[in-house]
Amino acid sequence: MTHHIVPVKTYAFVFAALLVLLALTVAAAQIENEVLNLLVGLTIAVSKAALIMLFFMHLRYNTFVIRMAAVAGFFWLAILMTLTMSDYLSRM
């Protein structure tokens, strides 16, 4: 399972999806609502990143340990973000 070869078609689909998402995010940036704007922007960014990681970076086909390495990076970032914000959001 080490050298999984992904069909070109899959890559092409992913790339097309990425371009569609890019168009979507630029269009969605017209949303006037501050929170909604950010939410849509981030959701699309996360989806794009997920597509790139799962397919282009072969995370979908990789071992458990490698997936854990990727997850650890984001998990630790979440720790940094959450606990720091727990300070800023609760300041008077």
């Binding site: 990076g73 300070d87 609760s90």
Partner: protein, 547 residues
Amino acid sequence: MSVAELPRRHYLNANYNIWSWLLTTDHKRIAILYMISLTLFFFVGGAAAILFRLELMTPQGDLLISETYNRLFTLHGVVMVFFFLIPSIPAVLGNFLVPMMIGARDMAFPRLNLLSWYLFMAGGILAIAAIVGGGVDTGWTFYTPYSTTYANSQVMAMAMGIFVAGFSSILTGMNFIVTTHTMRAPGMTWFRLPLFVWSHYATAVIMVLGTPVLAISLALIALERGLGVGIFDPKLGGDPLLFQHLFWFYSHPAVYIMVLPSMAVVSEIVPCFARKRIFGYSFIAFSSVAIAVLSFLVWGHHMFVSGQSVFAGMVFSFLSMLVAIPSAVKVFNWTATLHKGSISLETPMLYALGFIGLFTLGGLTGLFLATLAVDLHVHDTYFIVAHFHYIMVGGAVMGYLGGVHYWWPKMTGRLYPEWWGRVSAVVVFVGFNLTFFPQFVLGYLGMPRRYHVYPDEFQVLNVMSSAGASILGLGYLIPLVYLLWSLKYGKAAGPNPWNAKGVEWQTPSPPPTLNFDETPVVTEEAYAYPPLDESSAEGEPLEPVAN
């Protein structure tokens, strides 16, 4: 015991020219390179400490002006933390032993391993340049806005030095993780790994996920100082406290980069010199991992009085208490291992026992500091200084010295003089406590840290502390002398002078370049010391006389 001889060919005499050292990819030689450079840094940092301890003998500032004093304690902090303690056990003992303990021929990435030493040296040279060019007066913590705006010392060079050295730490951590995952010998399952490896794995997780945050916070300081990109600048509405968040996100777990490897060493030494299987193997293993994770949840306890919200203070206070649990699990398990063991007090064991005691004291005073109300009273006093020295010197350095003695025969093939070893261990223990115990009292009485003058009533305790520091300094010099002496005159050790269990003891001392003549196959758990009642009479504990 039959007279041992050194093997004819080993990693030290494989070849002699200088390039075979400077371009080596042998993890054992890289460990030696680290050991030599770290020793130099240790004595540089120690010299600074001796100077300011001398100044603190009297309440007035008669030896140093405050400017120089500030630069000296910054030098001491930066050099000791970033250029000695953080790499100490991982880069020397970990580098040497992790591949050997899992039965591998080398680290997974030998060239990155060498690169990490060069990065470390490059960072070190930058730091030395900063010192020679006038030093830094911010303290090792580089708090903004002082470091970004007001300090007119060599902040840039020093920050760069630490930034570069940080990458050496990241590479070391990466190597440990990948090596442990991919290079284990046949039969070496995860639960047969020595606890040394588990602890280093946990340390590596911290190195890999914490160090980049230190790197970015220092880089942002450099950007603000150098290019006016003012992210922490309060004049623009920036928040200097953000720097503290980022800095402590790394620098609290960094304490565990120092202590976890020390715990690794103690977990090897205690079963060997108690001749007993370690008590609660999986508890110790998982507590290492728990410490690595929990250590990232507590950094705000450094910021209780710096303007952080009360709510965050409460959260961090609570979380800080939690780290005590896995730490205590370890201490209890070591103690339980000692229970009814056949204990012999060779030098490594003396250091290990010293570690357990001092770490416990340091850890318990840490609980005082994690308590919001108590911290208000002792924050920024000598109480803090004493607390973290109990962890970082009483813990980490004791562990390092214990480990160096324990594996010295493996690394060099020769025995150090045991009597001198025991003397030095006792001198270090006494000197350490005399230096730092009075500082708990000083801090509790209210003496703030980082001042070179103080009220007269604090003099007695300060003199005690300075006297202790000179004893401690002596205690560090003795091993330097006899270890160097043993390189030439020490008795040949043989493969396993301690009759210890573990794959690393099955190969000759010093080991061949590829560690093992043939790849070991592991068939038993770690620390499989035979049960005491079956072993020889000398291992038998004395029967109590009829009561």
